[in-house]
Protein backbone atom coordinates (compact mmCIF):
# COMPACT_ATOMS: atom_id res chain seq x y z
CA UNK A 1 0.00 0.00 0.00
CA UNK A 2 1.96 2.96 -1.21
CA UNK A 3 1.19 6.56 -0.38
CA UNK A 4 0.44 7.34 -4.04
CA UNK A 5 -2.12 4.54 -4.21
CA UNK A 6 -3.88 5.79 -1.06
CA UNK A 7 -4.12 9.35 -2.39
CA UNK A 8 -5.42 8.21 -5.80
CA UNK A 9 -7.91 5.79 -4.25
CA UNK A 10 -9.23 8.52 -1.93
CA UNK A 11 -9.52 10.93 -4.90
CA UNK A 12 -11.46 8.37 -6.94
CA UNK A 13 -13.80 7.31 -4.15
CA UNK A 14 -14.51 10.88 -2.95
CA UNK A 15 -15.14 11.98 -6.55
CA UNK A 16 -17.53 9.07 -7.11
CA UNK A 17 -19.36 9.74 -3.83
CA UNK A 18 -19.72 13.43 -4.70
CA UNK A 19 -20.97 12.56 -8.21
CA UNK A 20 -23.70 10.41 -6.69
CA UNK A 21 -24.61 12.52 -3.64
CA UNK A 22 -24.47 16.20 -4.69
CA UNK A 23 -27.75 18.01 -5.28
CA UNK A 24 -26.79 20.20 -8.24
CA UNK A 25 -26.49 18.08 -11.39
CA UNK A 26 -23.71 20.20 -12.91
CA UNK A 27 -21.66 19.72 -9.74
CA UNK A 28 -22.29 15.98 -10.08
CA UNK A 29 -20.85 16.04 -13.61
CA UNK A 30 -17.75 17.92 -12.40
CA UNK A 31 -17.26 15.46 -9.53
CA UNK A 32 -17.61 12.65 -12.08
CA UNK A 33 -14.68 14.18 -13.97
CA UNK A 34 -12.61 14.05 -10.77
CA UNK A 35 -13.50 10.37 -10.33
CA UNK A 36 -12.54 9.64 -13.97
CA UNK A 37 -9.22 11.45 -13.48
CA UNK A 38 -8.55 9.43 -10.32
CA UNK A 39 -9.21 6.21 -12.23
CA UNK A 40 -6.92 7.33 -15.06
CA UNK A 41 -4.13 8.01 -12.54
CA UNK A 42 -4.76 4.59 -10.98
CA UNK A 43 -4.27 3.08 -14.46
CA UNK A 44 -0.99 5.00 -14.76
CA UNK A 45 -0.01 3.74 -11.30
CA UNK A 46 -0.62 0.21 -12.65
CA UNK A 47 1.91 0.84 -15.49
CA UNK A 48 -0.90 0.84 -18.06
CA UNK A 49 0.08 4.08 -19.77
CA UNK A 50 -1.97 3.54 -22.92
CA UNK A 51 -5.16 2.68 -21.02
CA UNK A 52 -4.61 5.64 -18.68
CA UNK A 53 -4.28 8.17 -21.48
CA UNK A 54 -7.16 6.55 -23.39
CA UNK A 55 -9.21 6.96 -20.21
CA UNK A 56 -8.31 10.66 -20.02
CA UNK A 57 -9.09 11.21 -23.72
CA UNK A 58 -12.34 9.25 -23.84
CA UNK A 59 -13.84 9.90 -20.42
CA UNK A 60 -12.62 13.34 -19.36
CA UNK A 61 -12.46 14.62 -22.92
CA UNK A 62 -15.64 13.17 -24.38
CA UNK A 63 -18.01 11.50 -21.94
CA UNK A 64 -17.87 14.22 -19.26
CA UNK A 65 -18.46 16.93 -21.86
CA UNK A 66 -21.34 14.90 -23.30
CA UNK A 67 -22.89 14.60 -19.82
CA UNK A 68 -22.59 18.37 -19.26
CA UNK A 69 -24.21 19.03 -22.64
CA UNK A 70 -27.07 16.65 -21.83
CA UNK A 71 -27.61 18.34 -18.44
CA UNK A 72 -27.72 21.80 -19.98
CA UNK A 73 -30.01 20.69 -22.82
CA UNK A 74 -32.53 19.13 -20.45
CA UNK A 75 -32.71 21.80 -17.72
CA UNK A 76 -31.33 19.09 -15.45
CA UNK A 77 -29.37 21.66 -13.45
CA UNK A 78 -32.53 22.77 -11.66
CA UNK A 79 -32.78 21.00 -8.32
CA UNK A 80 -36.24 19.43 -7.99
CA UNK A 81 -38.33 20.53 -5.04
CA UNK A 82 -39.14 17.06 -3.73
CA UNK A 83 -35.58 15.82 -3.35
CA UNK A 84 -33.03 14.33 -5.71
CA UNK A 85 -33.41 10.73 -4.57
CA UNK A 86 -36.17 8.43 -5.78
CA UNK A 87 -38.93 7.15 -3.54
CA UNK A 88 -37.27 3.71 -3.34
CA UNK A 89 -33.82 5.02 -2.37
CA UNK A 90 -33.62 2.89 0.77
CA UNK A 91 -33.99 -0.36 -1.20
CA UNK A 92 -31.42 0.85 -3.75
CA UNK A 93 -28.94 1.72 -1.01
CA UNK A 94 -29.49 -1.67 0.65
CA UNK A 95 -28.85 -3.48 -2.66
CA UNK A 96 -25.66 -1.49 -3.28
CA UNK A 97 -24.42 -2.14 0.28
CA UNK A 98 -25.15 -5.86 -0.10
CA UNK A 99 -23.27 -5.98 -3.43
CA UNK A 100 -20.27 -4.21 -1.86
CA UNK A 101 -20.36 -6.58 1.12
CA UNK A 102 -20.31 -9.63 -1.16
CA UNK A 103 -17.54 -8.20 -3.39
CA UNK A 104 -15.42 -7.17 -0.41
CA UNK A 105 -15.90 -10.54 1.27
CA UNK A 106 -14.87 -12.34 -1.93
CA UNK A 107 -11.79 -10.15 -2.49
CA UNK A 108 -10.57 -10.29 1.10
CA UNK A 109 -11.34 -14.01 1.36
CA UNK A 110 -9.27 -14.84 -1.73
CA UNK A 111 -6.35 -12.52 -0.99
CA UNK A 112 -4.02 -15.43 -0.15
CA UNK A 113 -4.46 -17.04 -3.60
CA UNK A 114 -4.12 -13.78 -5.53
CA UNK A 115 -0.61 -13.00 -6.84
CA UNK A 116 1.32 -10.69 -4.52
CA UNK A 117 4.05 -9.00 -6.49
CA UNK A 118 4.81 -8.97 -10.17
CA UNK A 119 7.59 -7.50 -12.23
CA UNK A 120 6.76 -4.31 -14.10
CA UNK A 121 5.45 -5.48 -17.49
CA UNK A 122 7.64 -4.39 -20.37
CA UNK A 123 4.90 -3.28 -22.75
CA UNK A 124 5.21 -0.31 -25.07
CA UNK A 125 2.55 1.42 -27.14
CA UNK A 126 4.18 -0.18 -30.18
CA UNK A 127 3.41 -3.63 -28.77
CA UNK A 128 -0.21 -2.61 -28.22
CA UNK A 129 -0.46 -1.31 -31.77
CA UNK A 130 1.02 -4.50 -33.20
CA UNK A 131 -1.37 -6.59 -31.10
CA UNK A 132 -4.34 -4.48 -32.20
CA UNK A 133 -3.38 -4.91 -35.85
CA UNK A 134 -2.63 -8.64 -35.66
CA UNK A 135 -4.28 -10.75 -32.99
CA UNK A 136 -7.09 -8.36 -32.08
CA UNK A 137 -7.85 -7.00 -35.54
CA UNK A 138 -11.33 -8.55 -35.73
CA UNK A 139 -12.56 -7.03 -32.42
CA UNK A 140 -11.01 -3.72 -33.53
CA UNK A 141 -13.06 -3.75 -36.73
CA UNK A 142 -16.19 -4.71 -34.81
CA UNK A 143 -15.62 -1.82 -32.39
CA UNK A 144 -15.19 0.49 -35.39
CA UNK A 145 -18.56 -0.65 -36.77
CA UNK A 146 -20.13 -0.31 -33.32
CA UNK A 147 -18.86 3.25 -32.90
CA UNK A 148 -20.10 4.23 -36.36
CA UNK A 149 -23.51 2.70 -35.66
CA UNK A 150 -23.67 4.36 -32.23
CA UNK A 151 -22.78 7.78 -33.66
CA UNK A 152 -25.41 7.54 -36.39
CA UNK A 153 -27.93 6.11 -33.92
CA UNK A 154 -27.35 8.84 -31.34
CA UNK A 155 -27.75 11.55 -33.99
CA UNK A 156 -30.96 9.98 -35.34
CA UNK A 157 -32.43 9.46 -31.86
CA UNK A 158 -31.64 13.00 -30.69
CA UNK A 159 -32.54 14.67 -34.01
CA UNK A 160 -35.33 17.24 -33.99
CA UNK A 161 -38.68 15.88 -35.04
CA UNK A 162 -40.44 17.59 -37.90
CA UNK A 163 -42.54 20.53 -36.79
CA UNK A 164 -46.12 19.46 -36.36
CA UNK A 165 -48.70 21.52 -38.28
CA UNK A 166 -50.42 23.94 -35.96
Amino acid sequence: MSFVFCVLAALTVVGGMAAVLLKNTVHCALALTVAFAGLAFLFLDLDAQFAGFAQILVYIGAVAILVVFAILLTKGSETPKDGVFSSTWLAGLAIAAAVFAVLGWAVLGSSNVLPHEAAVPDVTVKDIGIALMSRYVLPLEIVAILLTAATIGAVIVAMHEKEEPK
Binding site: M1, A9, V67, F69, T74, F100, L146, V157
Partner: protein, 103 residues
Protein backbone atom coordinates in the same frame (compact mmCIF):
# COMPACT_ATOMS: atom_id res chain seq x y z
CA UNK B 1 -3.22 -6.04 2.21
CA UNK B 2 -1.39 -6.72 -1.03
CA UNK B 3 -1.45 -4.09 -3.82
CA UNK B 4 -3.78 -6.19 -5.98
CA UNK B 5 -6.26 -6.53 -3.11
CA UNK B 6 -6.17 -2.76 -2.63
CA UNK B 7 -7.01 -2.13 -6.27
CA UNK B 8 -9.78 -4.72 -6.20
CA UNK B 9 -11.28 -3.15 -3.07
CA UNK B 10 -11.22 0.33 -4.65
CA UNK B 11 -12.91 -1.12 -7.75
CA UNK B 12 -15.57 -2.81 -5.59
CA UNK B 13 -16.20 0.46 -3.72
CA UNK B 14 -16.52 2.48 -6.95
CA UNK B 15 -18.84 -0.19 -8.36
CA UNK B 16 -21.03 -0.04 -5.24
CA UNK B 17 -21.12 3.78 -5.38
CA UNK B 18 -22.14 3.65 -9.04
CA UNK B 19 -24.80 1.04 -8.32
CA UNK B 20 -26.19 3.13 -5.44
CA UNK B 21 -26.30 6.18 -7.72
CA UNK B 22 -28.03 4.28 -10.52
CA UNK B 23 -30.62 2.87 -8.13
CA UNK B 24 -31.37 5.91 -5.96
CA UNK B 25 -31.16 9.03 -8.15
CA UNK B 26 -34.27 10.42 -9.85
CA UNK B 27 -32.55 12.24 -12.71
CA UNK B 28 -32.01 9.98 -15.74
CA UNK B 29 -28.62 11.58 -16.48
CA UNK B 30 -27.42 10.79 -12.94
CA UNK B 31 -28.45 7.16 -13.49
CA UNK B 32 -26.23 7.13 -16.59
CA UNK B 33 -23.40 8.62 -14.51
CA UNK B 34 -23.80 5.72 -12.07
CA UNK B 35 -23.60 3.22 -14.93
CA UNK B 36 -20.42 4.89 -16.21
CA UNK B 37 -18.87 4.59 -12.73
CA UNK B 38 -19.70 0.87 -12.67
CA UNK B 39 -18.11 0.34 -16.11
CA UNK B 40 -14.98 2.16 -14.94
CA UNK B 41 -14.74 -0.01 -11.84
CA UNK B 42 -14.80 -3.09 -14.08
CA UNK B 43 -12.03 -1.56 -16.21
CA UNK B 44 -9.91 -1.02 -13.10
CA UNK B 45 -10.33 -4.71 -12.24
CA UNK B 46 -9.23 -5.74 -15.75
CA UNK B 47 -6.12 -3.53 -15.65
CA UNK B 48 -5.22 -4.64 -12.11
CA UNK B 49 -5.43 -8.33 -13.04
CA UNK B 50 -3.41 -7.64 -16.21
CA UNK B 51 -0.69 -5.94 -14.14
CA UNK B 52 -0.42 -8.64 -11.47
CA UNK B 53 -1.36 -11.64 -13.63
CA UNK B 54 1.08 -14.26 -14.87
CA UNK B 55 1.42 -13.14 -18.52
CA UNK B 56 1.20 -9.36 -18.89
CA UNK B 57 3.05 -9.46 -22.21
CA UNK B 58 0.02 -11.24 -23.76
CA UNK B 59 -1.91 -7.95 -23.25
CA UNK B 60 -5.23 -9.75 -22.70
CA UNK B 61 -6.56 -7.63 -19.84
CA UNK B 62 -5.25 -4.42 -21.39
CA UNK B 63 -7.05 -5.15 -24.68
CA UNK B 64 -10.22 -6.03 -22.80
CA UNK B 65 -10.09 -2.69 -20.97
CA UNK B 66 -9.42 -0.71 -24.16
CA UNK B 67 -12.35 -2.31 -25.97
CA UNK B 68 -14.49 -1.82 -22.87
CA UNK B 69 -13.66 1.92 -22.90
CA UNK B 70 -14.70 2.13 -26.57
CA UNK B 71 -17.99 0.31 -25.95
CA UNK B 72 -18.68 2.53 -22.91
CA UNK B 73 -18.20 5.64 -25.06
CA UNK B 74 -20.74 4.32 -27.59
CA UNK B 75 -23.14 3.49 -24.74
CA UNK B 76 -22.85 6.99 -23.28
CA UNK B 77 -23.58 8.65 -26.64
CA UNK B 78 -26.68 6.55 -27.29
CA UNK B 79 -27.90 6.79 -23.68
CA UNK B 80 -27.65 10.57 -23.53
CA UNK B 81 -29.33 10.83 -26.95
CA UNK B 82 -32.21 8.76 -25.56
CA UNK B 83 -32.42 10.97 -22.45
CA UNK B 84 -32.63 14.12 -24.61
CA UNK B 85 -35.35 12.53 -26.76
CA UNK B 86 -37.34 11.48 -23.67
CA UNK B 87 -36.98 15.00 -22.30
CA UNK B 88 -38.42 16.45 -25.51
CA UNK B 89 -41.33 14.03 -25.28
CA UNK B 90 -42.15 14.12 -21.54
CA UNK B 91 -40.57 17.53 -20.63
CA UNK B 92 -38.84 15.95 -17.63
CA UNK B 93 -35.86 13.74 -16.82
CA UNK B 94 -37.41 12.67 -13.50
CA UNK B 95 -37.65 8.88 -13.57
CA UNK B 96 -40.35 8.82 -10.86
CA UNK B 97 -42.66 10.71 -13.22
CA UNK B 98 -42.04 8.35 -16.15
CA UNK B 99 -44.64 5.77 -15.24
CA UNK B 100 -46.30 5.20 -18.60
CA UNK B 101 -45.21 2.98 -21.46
CA UNK B 102 -47.63 4.75 -23.80
CA UNK B 103 -46.51 8.11 -25.09
Amino acid sequence: MTPLTGFLMVAALVFAIGLAGALTRRNAILVLIGIELMLNAANLNLIAFWRYGPHPEALTGMMFAIFSIAVAAAEAAVGLGLVIQIYRHAHTTDLDQMNRMKG
